[in-house]
């Protein structure tokens, strides 16, 4: 096990290296001079040249890359071009809000989603099942930002039950979490339903049923157990993406999360900040994948980590 972990960590490190390399190349390809971003459109060539020299933008690519990696090794993510503040600080101050929203919406959405999925799988073929199917499909086809807008219009503006956006306690968290949880719910409900019905019909489960295993135990232990592997996979990917921020929801509800920060960084070509947010997101994805792979072994003992 220790060997497996060590190998995976090494792999993660090499992936991160690959990510930073791709990032560097991508940024070079865009025809935008960071010096112009900093000094503005009316700057003269002398100022631009001075900035480029100061930031080391004229050095050969491997040198710049090496300098960046050196900084990373010392925990220095650099400074934002646009505001001059340290990237680590910028990311750090958005973490609590992002985590709060991610955890809340995932908890609600996942729990409700799995519940609905199991229930409808049990009553497969009934009118309720079909009704839920159509409802979830309609729900999934509405873009998230629109759901958010609608919710804030109804509950924030018209009915005045909840505040109009912003960061705060339960009242502020309710609408953005509900928007995200709504999508999570539909997604997991649909997925669980399909996975479980597929497993229920399998000979393996039918054999167990014939052997007289009681229905609830049958359901939970056998059907769900087998459907758990893909569900956990998706959950892992979901956690990573939620923690990287969900820009559309954050924009609609004025929630100070990482998603908006990352998108703004890309649109203003604020390279150190872009690199910082991409790396943070990458680390999250790799960590979640590692946890998921380890969980495979727990869920399904037959899985061997070769």
């Amino acid at each position: 096990m220790a060997g497996y972990l060590a190998r995976r960590l090494l792999r993660a490190a090499s992936t991160l290296l690959g990510t930073t390399l791709i990032l560097f190349v991508l940024v070079r390809v865009v025809p935008a001079d960071p010096a112009v971003s900093i000094a503005g459109p009316k700057a003269d060539p002398a100022t631009l040249a001075a900035i480029r020299k100061d930031l080391g933008l004229d050095d050969p690519l491997p040198v710049q890359y090496g300098r960046y990696l050196w900084g990373l090794a010392h925990g220095d993510l650099g400074r934002s071009y646009v505001t001059g503040r340290r990237v680590a600080a910028l990311i750090g101050e958005r973490l609590p809000a992002t985590a709060l929203l991610a955890v809340t919406s995932l908890a609600i959405g996942f729990a409700l989603g799995v519940g609905v999925g199991l229930l409808t799988a049990a009553r497969q073929g009934s009118a309720a099942d079909l009704g839920v199917l159509v409802a979830t499909l309609v729900g999934l086809s509405i873009p998230t930002f629109f759901v958010g807008n609608l919710l804030i219009y109804l509950f924030g503006y018209r009915l005045r039950w909840l505040p109009l956006g912003g960061y705060g306690g339960v009242r502020h968290l309710l609408l953005p979490a509900a928007t995200l949880a709504f999508v999570e719910l539909l997604f997991y409900a649909r997925f669980v339903h399909t996975s479980v019905t597929g497993t229920l019909a399998s000979d393996y489960v039918r054999t167990a049923r014939a052997k007289g295993v009681p229905p609830l135990a049958l359901y939970l232990r056998h059907a769900l157990r087998n459907a758990l592997v893909p569900i956990v996979t998706l959950l892992g990917l979901d956690v990573a993406s939620l923690m990287s921020g969900v820009v559309l929801t954050e924009t609609v509800f004025n929630w100070p999360g990482l998603g908006r920060l990352a998108v703004q960084a890309v649109f203003s070509l604020d390279i150190p900040l872009v690199a910082g947010t991409v790396l943070f997101s990458a680390v999250l994805v790799l960590a979640c994948n590692l946890v998921v792979d380890l969980l495979y072994g727990v869920i399904d003992p037959r899985v061997q980590h070769g």
Binding site: L140, T144, T194, T207, V229
Partner: protein
């Protein structure tokens, strides 16, 4: 075996819906006298509600909404299907190979998956949008190239658990070739998850198209696409609700149609044999 009767029912319902949409897309030029890309009102004073001349009203640039819907069917369908095919093709293949062969091949495949997952999609899209000439193919290709990882990881997870099953081990002992085992035993086992994801992924692709248009990165202007129609007008939902409702209904219909096909197939194909 699965429930054949219900499966057929779902399949037919879904296929009908999708066929209707495809028909709309194919016959688009004959279904409307208006050019969807051009302002057709004589004087623009804002989006107009449905009227005799414009049965679904006009949009925020004075274009006929019905015209944009039928022509938008082409774009939305093309983008969603193309993206889905690319994702499925790459993802399922990689997942099967990685899960089955294991060891260094698995490690290599998962390393690529991790790399693609950590790619800054938005940055990639912006870079591509800046350096490539505006084209209809860029968006679905990118969505597809970036979205296959979910399929890969899901399929791989399934295969990892399936390959140790008794029937697989038995087949191996009997000398079946790798290809035979993959196609006949593992693929059907992973199929429910894959089909479910594919069906859900269609809605995802259309939703992504909407989100990208919202951020300004969608198909080249002024090509209509249902996702863009919503993102362009969503702030008008109180002032001109038909602008949002109409493409919303269209998207729902497409998503429902594809999903019904998916579930119909699932029922017909049934569960893996033991």
């Amino acid at each position: 075996m699965g429930d054949g009767g219900r499966g057929r029912g779902l399949l037919i319902a879904g296929a009908t819906l999708v066929a209707a949409i495809v028909l709309l897309a194919l016959l688009a030029p004959y279904l409307t006298p208006y050019d969807p890309d051009v302002t057709v009102v004589a004087r623009y004073t804002g989006p107009a509600p449905p009227s005799a001349a414009h049965p679904l009203g006009t949009d925020t640039l004075g274009r006929d909404v019905w015209a944009r819907i039928v022509f938008g069917a082409r774009t939305s369908l093309a983008v969603a299907v193309l993206a889905m095919l690319v994702s499925l093709g790459i993802g399922v293949t990689v997942g099967l190979v990685a899960g089955y062969f294991g060891r260094w091949l698995d490690t290599a495949c998962m390393w690529i998956v991790d790399l693609v997952l950590t790619l800054p999609t938005l940055l990639l899209l912006i870079v591509l949008a800046t350096v490539l000439p505006p084209s209809l193919l860029t968006i679905p290709l990118v969505i597809g190239l970036v979205g296959w990882t979910t399929f890969a990881r899901t399929v791989r997870g399934e295969v990892l658990s399936l390959r140790e099953r008794d029937y697989v081990l038995a087949a191996r002992a009997l000398g079946a070739s790798h290809a035979w085992i993959i196609v006949r035993h593992l693929l059907p086992g992973a199929l429910p998850s894959v089909l479910a994801l594919a069906a859900l992924g269609m809605s995802g692709a259309i939703g992504l198209d909407a989100g990208l248009s919202y951020l300004g990165l969608g198909v080249p202007l002024p090509t209509p696409s249902w996702g863009r129609m919503i993102s362009e007008t969503q702030t008008y939902f109180a002032v001109a609700p038909w602008l949002v409702v109409v493409p919303g209904v269209a998207i729902s219909a497409a998503v429902i149609g594809f999903n019904l096909i998916g579930y119909g197939l699932l029922d017909l194909l049934g569960a893996p044999r033991t």
